[in-house]
Structures are given as C-alpha cells and as structure tokens.
Amino acid sequence: MNSVRTSLLESSRWKAWEPVVWLLAFASPFVVAQHALIINEIAIVALFALSLDLILGYTGIVSLGHAAFLGFGAYSAALFAKHVMPDPLVGLAVGIVAATALGAVCSFTIMRGTDLTRLMVTLGMALLLLELANKLDWLTGGSDGLQGVTMGPLLGRFEFDLMGQTAAWYSLTVLLVIFLLARRLVHSPFGATLMAVRDNRLRAMAIGIPVSARLAVAYTVAAGVAGAAGALLAQTTGFASLDVFALERSADLMLILVIGGVGWLYGGIAGAVVFKLMHDVISGITPQYWTFWIGLFLVVLVMVGRERLLRPWTWFGRDRGQG
C-alpha cells in the first residue's frame, strides 16, 4: 500500500533541478540586466503557454483562439490602470477576474462538437473580440492601441524602470505563483480527472467523471491564467494594442507549447525560452521572412514527430509505434 502511494506521488514530487531553474530565472535580470526586457517577455509568454497547456495538454481541447483571453486581460488591466487606479497588483487581479469571467462564459461553447467545431468557436471568439476592440475606439483607442497607461509603483515602493528589471521580477514572481498553483492543480485528483477526460472522454464519463463540468472549470481556470499574462503584458509595456488578439499570437503560442512539450508544465516555459531566442536570432537575420522559417520548423517538427524533438536520442533508430 505504502509503495503504491510512493510511486503515485513520485511524479508530483519536486525534482532537484527545479529550484535551480527558478533560482537561475530570478537571478537572470540581475546578471544580464541589459536583457531584462526580453526576460520579462519570456516570463509573460511562458505564463501564457502554461495557460494553454492546462487546456490543450491536460484536457485535450484544441484551441486556436487562446489570445482572446490574453487580450481581454490586457485591455481590462490597461483600462483599469488608466481610468480607475494605477496600482499594478489590483490591476492584475482585475485582469484575472475579467478573463476568468469571459472564460466561464466561453466554456459553454466548447462542450460539444468535433475538434473542428472547437477550433472554429475559439478562433471566432478571438476574432470577435478583435473586431470589438477595433470598433470601440472611444474606449480602446481602436487600431492605434490603448495609449497613456501609466503604472504606479509596485507595492508602493518599486517603480517600473526603463531597464525592465522591476518588470522582469514582477512577471517572474507572478509566473512562479501561478506555476505553483497550476502544479498543485494538475497533480490533484481533479487534475487526474482532467487527464482521464483528455485520454478517453467516453470512459471518463463511464466511471462517473462529470465531463462537461470538468471541461468548464479547466477552461475557466486557463482563461484566468491567460488573463494574468495579458495583464502583465499591458502593465509592463504600458500599452495594449489590437495584436494581442491576433491569430498569429494563438498560432505562435501553440508552437511554443509544442516545442517545449505538451502536457508538461515546464513545457510552456522551455518552449517560451527557445521560441523567443529563436525569434530574436532569425528575425535578426531575415526580419521580413521569418515566418517562413517558423512555418518550415512547424512542418518538420510534425513530420519528425513532436514527441521526439526534445529527445535527440530517439532521432535515429526505429520509430516504435509513434506516428
């Protein structure tokens, strides 16, 4: 009995390398202070990818419109900072709550139908919000973006500086907190039921898991996390523009998650680091055509088999049953 418990809990235990990774992450804005802005970006993208992982990797919902929640969080946080109060933490909470509410509403749209239906509904939702943000220009600034967002100091003490160190630490802290919560969530019995739903919805239903309710909760939580990422984005850049809703953002996000590995919480973080660095290098070489290389990368990735990308030792030799 005891050994069963040990082996079941094995996967949720902290590995020795995990604190090291986080320590490195938190030390990075200090060590390479000139790159603090990109570290901030990576932390935000990682948080966003973590959110997609909750629904795609753990629950099996294919979404092409996750940017809807990022954008909604970003605009709510920015509007709140502009019109109500500039405190970052309250703004973050507002972004999360707004996106969570939107996610709860949207979760009804992803219950039924095939993957194609879900793809279309999620994509449609992002495009709908894009149109709204574009047309409600008295509120959102339309295609010029929402400008003039000034943030107050964090906790009343730390000003956001131009170097982006404060921003980087702020984003990393939020990422860590949400990561810990997500980790707790996916290793809980609740998380196990999500994975059961992902693997076989019919059987999950047969053993008494309320599939629709689980999907709804997972989708809502993921929306809230994406909203947090959006709020961070708006707060640390002091700006919210229409491209937060764009299709490219959702597609890039999927790529990020797939690079790092789906169904693994560090997948989003690893993917975000690799993707951002790759983006910087490639767009440094060919700024205009870098989508070509991203596209090629995606095609090759899928042809080779995305499970094998991060496991180079399986590249040669027999492909055992993986398609």
Partner: protein, 288 residues
C-alpha cells in the same frame, strides 16, 4: 437592397468554390487543413502573373490557375499530406498552419507584399442597372455567379451520377467499409484533393479582383473557408453551398448596413450556429 443581395450571392458563390475542396477533403479524411487558402493564392498569382507579364487573356488564365493549383495540390498530397492523416488533430493543425506561414512568406519574397491589381478584360467591366437602379449588377460579379453556378451543377452531377461520385460518397461515409468493397480510397482521395485544390486555385483567380490578392491571403481568408466548412458540415456539397451563400450575404449586408460592426456579425453568427448545431447546419443522417 437587391444589389446587396446580388453582391452577397456573388461573394457567397465565390466562397463556395474556394471552400468546397476543403469541405470534401475534410469530410473524407477527417483532416483539418488550414493551408487551403494557399492553393487559392497560388491560383490568384498564376493569373496575375500570366496576365500582366505574358499577356495571356483572362479566360485562358482560369484553366491554367485551376491546373497549377491542382498539380501543386497533388504533389503536396503525395509527398507531405498523406503522412498526416493518421496523426492527431493538433499535429494536423500545426502542420497545415506551418504550410500556410511558409506560403505567405514565399509569396512575399517572390511577389512583394503589395496588393496585386488585376486588369479585367473590357467585356467584364461595367454595370447593368435594372428596376430603375434598384438592382445594380456588376458584369464581373454576374460572370462569377455564372461560372460558379455552372461548376456547382457540374460538381453535383459528378457526385450524384457518376461512378467516381458514388465511390467518393462511399469513402466519405465510411472509408474502411469502402476500402473493403474494393474502392481504392487513396486514389479517390488523391484525385479529390487535387480537384479541390484546383477549385481553390480557380476561386483565387476569379476572386483576386473581388477579395484582393496579397501574400496574407491564406491567413486572411482561412477563417472564412473554415466557417463555410464548419457551418455547412462536411457530408455533402449542398451544405457548404448554403453556408457559403449565407456567409456571403450576411457579410455584405452586415458591412453595408452596420459598417461600424464590420465582420463582427459574421463571427457572432458562426458562434451562435455552432453552439446550436455543433456538427454544422446540414448533417446528413447515416453518415459517420
């Protein structure tokens, strides 16, 4: 009022020709192909290049656009797409969106990022006014409707009356049983994919003037094709036809009457329909 309806129908017919190949291939192999718009773009660029740089007449360009896109579709199907059929939907989405990205960047590289302008032949320009101006019909739109209607009737005939059509329908309903009956599903699929890509190419050539042609075409109209397929269902061609007409009319009317909301109406309509009928509006009983 009637003019809007007319423009909507022309737009819808065009969308149908662009999307019908996607609908059939999706129904046949359950493959989510987000790169379908790339074939349409190829057709459009073939037409523009041939007309502007080589002086080929417009009418001769259309079959060439069809042939070029169909050939490309066949080659890609044989080499890349066929390995994807058994993979999960996530892989298919990633793969085809990767192809679409590559197509966008390639078109940008070779053709430049500006919008291409198409010179229509003299006899297609101009407008006819009927009923004291209540119905204004652009000649080119009339031409589009005529071509697309002829194609639709032709497709319907092939599907319902020919031997290939019955094989195709059998394969869509259940590929395994169809294969068991001696139908070579792979060949059926390759042919369908090629024709579908060709039709997209033709649609791209016809639509270059109406929809606008620039390198972002595959991504810009991907959503519209997918709406047609998702709303129309994948088991027949009447479903996508009606969905395309509905979409075309709703889009034109929405943009005319409530320009403030733009494409908002179309997306809202799609989401509402998909919540109401997740499998699409027109699902045939007995299909899979």
């Amino acid at each position: 009022m009637l003019t809007i309806l007319f423009d909507g129908i022309a737009y819808g017919m065009l969308l149908f020709i662009l999307a019908v190949g996607l609908s059939v291939t999706m129904g046949l192999m359950n493959f989510i192909n987000l790169a379908h718009g790339a074939f349409a773009m190829v057709g459009g660029y073939i037409t523009v290049v041939l007309m502007q740089r080589h002086g080929v007449p417009f009418m001769a360009c259309l079959p060439l656009a069809f042939g070029g896109a169909a050939l490309l579709g066949m080659v890609l199907e044989r080499t890349l797409y066929r390995t994807m059929y058994r993979k999960p939907h996530l892989d298919q989405v990633l793969f085809s969106i990767g192809l679409a990205f590559m197509a966008v960047a390639t078109a940008d590289y070779f053709m430049g990022s500006q919008q291409q302008i198409m010179q229509l032949p003299e006899w297609l320009r101009g407008r006819t006014e009927l009923f004291d101006g209540a119905l204004g019909m652009g000649h080119y739109r009339l031409f589009i409707i005529a071509v697309c209607a002829a194609l639709t009737i032709g497709l319907q005939f092939i599907l319902s009356k020919t031997r290939f059509g019955s094989r195709l329908r059998a394969s869509v309903d259940d590929p395994r049983v169809a294969a068991g009956l001696g139908i070579n599903v792979n060949v059926v699929f390759a042919a369908t994919f090629a024709v579908g890509s060709g039709l997209a190419g033709l649609g791209g050539a016809l639509g270059a003037e109406v929809l606008g042609l620039d390198p972002t075409f595959p991504l810009k109209f991907m959503v519209y094709f997918l709406i047609v397929v998702a709303v129309g269902g994948t088991s027949s061609i009447t479903g996508p036809l009606l969905a395309a007409l509905l979409l075309g009319i709703a889009d034109v009317a929405g943009k005319y009457f409530i320009p403030k909301l733009g494409a908002f109406i179309v997306y809202a309509l799609m989401i509402a329909i998909l919540i109401w009928r997740p499998q699409g509006l027109f699902v045939r009983k007995g299909g899979k």
